[in-house]
């Protein structure tokens, strides 16, 4: 139970990074924290029905569910892709506006429009 509440807090920290922070790099950090909270939640859920790693060296032992682990492998790679794309977009915005702060960027865009 405790680990689930901590995971929810981790998720909320990531969400706070996305909605509450003005700095774009901090927003990307928040996106990563949120992604990791979801990944760990799935691993925790899958480990409820067993204790051993899903490697069949000895038969008959109670292994964890390997399906969430295989799905989270996909989620981690997609997370890396999202991070790379958003970092590239952040660099692009910095080149245009000279700042990572979203308020400054918004002012700059309004000036140009």
């Amino acid at each position: 139970m405790v680990e689930r509440i901590l995971l929810l807090l981790l998720f909320m920290v990531g969400f706070w990074g996305i909605v509450g922070k003005k700095h774009i790099i901090k927003k990307i950090f928040g996106l990563n924290i949120l992604n990791n909270a979801a990944v760990i939640l799935f691993i925790v859920e899958g480990s409820r029905i067993g204790t051993n790693a899903p490697i069949m060296e000895q038969t008959g032992s109670s292994i964890v569910d390997p399906v969430p682990q295989a799905l989270m492998l996909t989620a981690i790679v997609i997370g890396v892709c999202i991070t790379a794309l958003s970092l590239a977009l952040a660099v692009h915005l910095y080149k245009i506006s000279g700042s990572f702060d979203i308020d400054t960027i918004r002012l700059k865009v309004q000036d140009e429009a």
Partner: protein
């Protein structure tokens, strides 16, 4: 977070906190879910996974056997992400060239730049960095290949080994005193390896046709070593993931295009 002074700042803080606690309240039942986790998939895989695919590691039996379509989509997403990142970064480089404005040149693009004239002058590029990363790079590469090729019997696999391979490539790129002395940190070669790996991946997926198992089918299913298919796919995916992530990082450090 600074203490709010005006009404607008207070309103911003209030809406942020409201959003965070609303999403917390919505997700609380999901995170505290006590519904029993179904054991049917686990039991089936524990019973059949090893004999079906030959892999001791059931996770690789899933993502390269039962759910290989998922993995195929994932590699395509990785490819698209590399293309998008490169598209945006190339545009950035052309913007810099057009304006030639040194004041707004960002650290990540030109700081660790692999071009000869910039790397000498940058303060973060010390001899310590070059010596340590140049020595540790080949060892990390070797470990990456180990994780990649033993993914069917031990924790690991193509994606994990590929990421370790990418760190080795980045170490070698950081530790190279001369430009172009090592082909593995050359972005053009990395891109070629990636595209060829993707082509081979698609061809290997087609190989099941010739044994009557269909697309994504294991051509070695009826032989003594069905695990060979998983080892081959792990090696190809590891090469593809390692080169694409290494290429993205090198391009963000200022090499590449």
């Amino acid at each position: 977070m600074t203490t709010p002074k005006t009404f607008k700042q207070f309103w911003g803080l209030f809406t942020t906190l409201l959003a965070i606690f609303s999403i917390g309240a919505v997700l609380l039942p999901i995170f505290l879910n006590a519904h029993p986790w179904p054991t049917a998939a686990r039991d089936y895989l524990a019973m059949r996974g090893n004999t079906d695919s030959g892999a001791t590691n059931l996770v690789s039996a899933i993502y390269l056997g039962y759910r290989v379509f998922d993995t195929f989509g994932e590699t395509i997403v990785l490819l698209v992400s590399v293309l998008g990142t490169m598209g945006i970064l190339t545009r950035v480089e052309s913007l810099v060239d057009a304006s030639s404005d040194d004041e707004h040149t960002i650290g990540t693009v030109s700081g660790f730049s692999l071009s000869q004239e910039k790397r000498r002058s940058h303060t973060l590029r010390t001899h310590l960095l070059e010596v340590v990363t140049g020595k540790i790079g080949p060892i990390v590469l070797l470990f990456g290949f180990y994780v990649m090729l033993y993914g069917h019997v031990s924790p690991g696999g193509g994606f994990q080994g590929g990421v370790i391979l990418a760190s080795g490539i980045i170490f070698l790129a950081l530790g190279n005193p001369q430009e172009g002395s090592s082909g593995i940190s050359n972005p053009e070669i990395l891109v070629r390896i990636e595209t060829v790996a993707f082509l081979i991946l698609v061809l290997v997926f087609f190989s099941g046709f010739f044994m009557g198992n269909g697309f994504f089918g294991n051509p070695l299913e009826s032989t003594q070593v069905p695990v060979g298919y998983i080892v081959l796919l792990n090696a190809i995916i590891g090469l593809k993931v390692g080169t694409s992530i290494g290429f993205m990082c090198i391009a963000m450090m200022g090499g590449g295009y």
